[in-house]
Amino acid sequence: MSLLRTFGIAWEGLALNKVRSFLTMLGLIIGVAAVIIMMAVSHGAEAEVADQINSLGANLIMIQPAFSRGGVSRQAGPPAMLKFGDIATIQQKVTGISGVSAEQNTTQIVKVGSVTLEDISIVGTTAGFMAVREYGVAQGRFITDADNDNANVAAVLGSTIAQQLFGNATAVGQTVKIGSTKFTVVGVMAAKGTVGNTDYDSRIYIPIKTVFKKFVSSRFRRDVVGMVYVSAQSKDTMASVKSQLTTLVMQILKTTSDSPGFQLTTQDSIITMRTSTTATFRNLLAWVAGVSLIVGGIGIMNIMLVSVTERTREIGLRQALGARPRDVQFQFLLEAVALSLMGGLVGVLAGVGGSYLFNKFGSMRTEVVWSSVPLAFGAAAAVGIFFGYYPATKAAQLDPIEALRHE
């Protein structure tokens, strides 16, 4: 018998009991759909993180101070840190970079008239910030080199802060009190949203030298920068820039590779870290998928056993008309596979549809992982074969005489 023909027979068997077939498939449908939706959700979340991180700036390398693994055992005193002047050194000596910027942050109370905002992140930075971080101003201007050279009391507000302090009135040109110092608002940033744990719109940007001057108490740390940002010209120069930076910064800090005293971070390494977090989630999903497929499979086995009993006479007749045991086995096996594939198909449709609906009407971003579709089908077919084998074999082993006598 041809495969197609047998499939046709199997299909007719299923069409006979539409409601029952559907109910049987339900376990599989829910399982497959859930897997596809959840994979889409996890992939969507991952893509969103990746997008956000990329929006920090393309080909960005962050240089952060790091404490040596053994705590303070190796070195006496505080760890060596990069200073403001080192930014110029990096700019000059490292090839293949498109920009360098630095940050030194502080947290202050911000006041305008009767409005007081507490615990506001004040970011001291340089003119290179906008290019490196791919972040622009909506009104006015950003910090300039001149601002830094003169340690001007100029401030650029995050969009949320501007809204909180001035409402819809123009912020540029107004005065804000940060800590005990009065600053002139020179610009308002474009909205950027929250990336990671940082709400970019709730920060205020001022010249880094003004931070040193007004907000750093320790005389020894007057020009220490918290973080240096370097942007490579392209993805291809990333590796070269990283190795140049490692060598140069070790030189500047007078450290060795055993305990360099700093660490380089790229978006890739952040994404990798995030991915490993979602991998745990994925493993959980795999278990959910496995359990629902097994439950669905047991449902299929159950209904196939019922079907074999109900159609004993038909089996006997087919045997009398010349169906070999393996023809019968094949028919029932294919019926189970057809059932599970149908379940898989409906599950995939429900899953893909559900993902789109989540994307459109839900607050979640979802991206359907298309490789999960053949995977779902394959798993469904495997479930059909595995759980259909026993009922099919039972059918094939029926004695035609007994089967024909069956009422």
Binding site: M1, Q319, G322, R324
Partner: protein
Amino acid sequence: MTQMMTQTAPTEKPMRKLIEITNLTKVYGVGNVAVQALRGVNMTVEQGEFVAIMGSSGSGKSTLMNILGCLDRPTSGTYILDGEDVSRLSKNQLASVRNKKIGFVFQSYNLLPRFTAVKNVTLPMLYNGYARKSDKERTERAVTMLGSVGLGDRGRHKPNELSGGQQQRVAIARALVNTPSIILADEPTGNLDTRSSMEIIDLLHQLHEQGTTLVMVTHEVDIASRAGRVIYLQDGQIVSDRMDASRTAAAYGHTDGSVG
């Protein structure tokens, strides 16, 4: 009807042995509970014969029919069907023999209720060489067969839309569709009223006249009398084999209506 005449009338051709059974026994169970259903049956059916098998309940006629139909294998003895020893074949081989050489007609028709008459008739073709032919060819063949049993206009009907006699005609068309060597009919009129019974037996007789070999189990004397030859079974043995049904029945006290 002429297009289905694949064999010439038996009288015009030298006889050929289609069924040859020698010392056939069948024992069910083992040891003390063993039941001997057939105790050394010898029987020959020539091509083109119409044979009725009679016998009371427990006489072994069902067992004999099952073995003749290759649904069961004898415990000992040989069964040669159309020149091939089928008494020791495997299940798969028996299935193939049933498909190609035997056409079954059952008391309860055994049509698949969800299929139309045409689809029911195509069923045996799915398990033989016709499977390689197209759906269209199979359907055409089924329609032709339905026409030859007088149901040319009922092809699209499902079994529950047909009368008992019509259903049995569909079953006969199904039995003929693979041009088998022999038709085995097990109480073909058992579920039918007198008029339908007569129509069916007329149809079987017609097939016989066209050269088809038929073996039929029945317990009705007037049905058996339409066959050319009546074999009477008792306690697993053939006790009578003659050309006159009424005398056979009378000799063994067989009365109408007893359950076979």
